[in-house]
């Protein structure tokens, strides 16, 4: 029986007091217990920023790599050992800025990993610059006249990419977020969970109250069908006075690893190579 204590890490936390990351960490642990995830069979891959420190604060296997390169590392791990549960974790700058290309292609591949993006619409660790998800007009040290470009919409991109599981959570609704993470991990395929998260140090616009006043749960409307892509396109475009949270889109299509004959029987890491087998290849050169 896996309990919350099994995920305790003794690494001291380096986040600002009041940071939305604390709630996300709590929801993540809750989700992991909910699906009875064994810590040793879990790998969390993260990038660089405040969000990517999260795996240090959970007992699990952790690869804390480069800014923006979370998804390729996670893909390599999953293909080498697809028996592991692989999560990727980062912020909005990490995932939608530096790692934008990898984000598009991970969705296209439909590798079975769950990607948690802590989206606070601002750069935190570099101390307050605009991010790809900053709203137009957002004033920072690098955008003194306000951000001139509109925010990128990762959920819309994900629906357009036919991403297998597309959801938005809010750090202020921990139980709801935990349920989303559980569903994302259990989903067979690439799962994007964009998590709205107030930054208490650098975002004075999109505050806890700002988000709380706007978010509403999609599942309150029982008629919403997340399998309907046209609905999902519409839902993903809602932003402003009302912001939907919950599962926006899901579809089932074969995962990348399920299509690879080399790992149909056992993961790559369990396979041994006998060099002698390759002597037969030498004949093809004669």
């Amino acid at each position: 029986m896996v309990t919350l204590e099994d995920f305790n890490s003794d690494d001291p936390i380096a986040w600002c007091p009041g940071c939305g990351n604390f709630s996300i960490l709590k929801a993540l642990k809750q989700a992991l217990v909910g699906i009875q995830q064994q810590p040793h069979e879990l790998v969390i891959v993260s990038g660089i920023g405040q969000a990517p420190k999260t795996p240090h604060y959970i007992r699990c296997n952790c690869f804390n790599g480069l800014h923006g390169r979370t998804l390729p590392v996670a893909t390599g791990i999953k293909l080498a050992n697809h028996k592991l549960t692989v999560l990727a974790q980062g912020g909005d700058g990490d995932g939608y800025g530096e790692g934008g290309n990898h984000f598009l292609h991970a969705m296209r591949r439909n590798i079975n990993i769950t990607y948690l993006v802590h989206n606070n619409q601002v750069y935190g660790l570099t101390k307050g610059q605009a991010s790809p998800t900053s709203d137009a007009g957002f004033v920072t040290k690098t955008t003194p006249r306000g951000s001139m470009s509109p925010a990128c919409n990762p959920l819309l991109l994900a629906v357009a990419s036919d991403c297998s599981f597309v959801a938005r959570g809010f750090a202020g609704e921990i139980d709801h977020l935990a349920d989303l993470i559980k569903a994302g991990i259990l989903n067979e395929g690439f799962a994007l969970i964009d998590i709205l998260q107030p930054c208490v140090s650098f975002n004075r616009v999109n505050t806890f109250k700002w988000y709380s006043d706007r978010v509403y749960r999609i599942d309150a409307d029982l008629s919403y069908d997340a399998k309907d892509r046209l609905n999902a396109f519409q839902k993903a475009q809602e932003w402003g006075d009302k912001i939907p949270i919950g599962i926006i889109y899901r579809n089932q299509r074969p995962t990348l690893e399920s299509q690879m004959p080399a790992i149909a029987d056992q993961p790559l890491v369990a396979q041994q190579t006998d060099p002698k087998v390759f002597t037969e290849l030498l004949e093809t050169f004669k």
Binding site: N61, L268, Q271, T273, F285, K286
Partner: protein
């Protein structure tokens, strides 16, 4: 015997089908064949050639003169006629390319007409030309017909017969009409099918697969793509996962992920692609994750000459990546060595948990070499110190970066039942958690760099040829092996006392391999396919020895032994 044939024409005219059938025909009769491929960065058109060299002794370089020039277009005559040896024969289709000549060595053969009549299609001109060239060398036709059968049998018996008939009529045409009796003496030989004909890329891929490659990710880039294609075409049979990445950054990060999880993984690219990988090279250094990266060089800077050759990325790969971290750099000179060094690359990467770079170049990767033996059975797979479930007492607080004096930390793989591991690109504690501690930083830097000592002991010495004292030493590395060795033989035949010092295991440099006292009396001549003499600089810095002469070539073309010999003479 040492015969060279050049087949020139536009891309898409089937130059390679001529060169490959001629080459295979002679390899099967136990000759040594070498093919250099010279082509432009385009899919159709342009001027391209394959140069086939046939000898009864090993050949690993091109010759500067050819005995037969097959011109499939007029441009070939314009550009390549000067490379014909005295008494060399030019073969061409006068009507097709609009060229006539009174020179008796300029042999007009109606390739197109014969192809249409005997082979029922113009596309058979390649087989006509192949038969014609074989006749000119005064060889039997049957081995060629056998090769044609094998090459085309998947396309049906009609295809085989049409090609064979085309070759036969081309062969007979030359027999009947040749006014020249070429001075080519090819000894008659039996078909034995003992030797292998393969490219540097194929040898690298084969070496990697036999060393336990399980995961490959790459982004297509000349001249490295052939490695990915070779692995890809055999991935299903040998249980290898190959994923074409969206860019080189993704490729190397996937490789790092797969290695972290415990699968032997590699990527291959050229200089520009490696530029994109450099941040992750440093990541592999910091997280102590094994990674094997082949860099098949081509001339830079930037896009440079995309389909041509150069050795100008040595300094780059030796220094690439921010911060100090250990790495190894290897550069095979010929296919047999490539197989051995790919195996060594994986073993060093696993044992020392470091990135290892294997350098090739367009000349090495695309050229076909003849090989007597590949010691695949002798490959030993050393995965380094990986702790199994039984190796750890339970419960155990495992520290990923705890190490003894070797600097090597025993690894566990994720999924280990008794422990979890933390790997971090930030400076980290022995447990793998982020730290800002000055003391731990010092400890970790020393631990990582300590690994260089062990690696240095495993680096093999340069090849000295011939052994013993010499007056001149030709210093080279990687793909220039064949040309330098041939130059040494020619110089020594002329009464010089010359020696080759060839490095294939370059970094970390082991000073014990160099007898500086003896070498200080030798005139050291560096031979490199780059502008500055990158290895010469490094060698000089490491040994304190001065380089007396630099023979450098940076026009995108490989060395011939003649070019090396001539430049040494010039300097004397």
């Amino acid at each position: 015997m040492d015969i060279s044939i050049r087949i020139g024409g536009e891309a898409g005219q089937g130059i390679q089908s001529i060169s490959s059938i001629i080459a295979r025909t002679f390899v099967r009769q136990d000759f040594y064949v070498f093919i250099n491929q010279d082509f432009a960065s385009r899919i159709r058109g342009g001027h391209n050639f394959d140069q086939v060299r046939i000898s009864n002794a090993p050949v690993r370089a091109i010759a500067d003169k050819v005995h037969i020039l097959i011109a499939l277009d007029k441009e070939t005559i314009k550009q390549d006629i000067d490379c014909l040896a005295d008494n060399g024969v030019l073969m061409f289709d006068a009507d097709a390319i609009g060229f006539t000549s009174e020179n008796p060595n300029h042999f007009a053969i109606p390739f197109g007409q014969i192809a249409s009549e005997a082979g029922k299609s113009k596309i058979m001109i390649n087989s006509v030309a192949t038969g014609a060239a074989i006749a000119l060398m005064d060889c039997e036709l049957q081995p060629v017909l056998d090769c044609i059968k094998e090459q085309f049998q998947q396309k049906g018996s009609e295809m085989v017969e049409n090609n064979q008939r085309s070759a036969t009529v081309g062969y007979d045409f030359v027999r009947r009409n040749s006014k020249v009796k070429p001075s080519l003496k090819v000894p008659s030989a039996k078909t034995v099918r003992r030797k292998m004909l393969l490219t540097g890329s194929q040898a690298m891929a084969l070496g990697a697969m036999a060393s336990g490659l399980k995961f490959y990710s790459g982004y297509p880039m000349s001249p490295a793509t052939a490695i990915m294609e070779f692995v890809s075409s055999r991935a299903e049979k040998y249980n290898i996962v190959l994923e074409q990445a969206e860019d080189e950054i993704s490729a190397i990060n996937m490789v790092i992920g797969a290695n972290f999880a415990g699968a032997r993984a590699m990527t291959a690219t050229s200089g520009g692609g490696f530029c994109l990988m450099v941040e992750a090279l440093s990541l592999a250094g910091m997280t102590e994750t094994p990674a094997v990266i082949v860099v098949a060089q081509r001339p830079g800077p930037s896009t440079g000459l995309p389909t041509r050759t150069e050795q100008a990325d040595l300094k780059f790969v030796m220094h690439a990546g921010h911060g100090d971290f250990p790495r190894a750099v290897l550069a095979p000179g010929y296919p047999e060595q490539a197989v051995v060094l790919m195996s060594k690359a994986f073993n060093l990467a696993d044992k020392y948990q470091i990135p290892v770079i294997v350098l090739g170049d367009q000349y090495f990767n695309d050229s076909y070499f003849t090989v007597d033996e590949l010691d695949i059975r002798d490959i030993v797979i050393d995965r380094g110190h990986i702790l199994s479930d039984q190796d750890l007492p339970s419960p155990h607080e495992y520290n990923r970066y705890a190490a003894d004096d070797s600097g090597i930390s025993p690894r566990i793989l994720p999924g280990h039942t008794k422990a979890v591991l933390y790997a971090d690109s930030d400076e980290h504690t022995t447990a793998g958690h982020i730290t800002e501690s000055a003391a731990i930083r010092n400890q970790m830097m020393r631990k990582r760099m300590q690994k260089m000592e062990g690696m240095q002991r495993e680096i093999g010495p340069p090849e000295i040829y011939p052994a013993g004292p010499a007056e001149f030493a030709l210093l080279g590395w990687g793909s220039t092996y064949g040309a330098i060795k041939e130059a040494v033989d020619q110089l020594n035949q002329n009464g010089n006392s010359t020696q080759m010092i060839h490095y294939s295991e370059i970094f970390p440099f082991n000073l014990r391999h160099v007898t500086t006292e003896q070498l200080s009396k030798v005139k050291i001549i560096a031979v490199e396919n780059n502008y500055t003499g990158q290895f010469a600089d490094f060698f000089s810095m490491a040994t304190g020895l001065s380089i007396d002469q630099r023979i450098l070539k940076y026009d995108g073309r490989p060395f011939t032994s003649r070019e090396i010999v001539d430049q040494i003479k010039d300097a004397q």
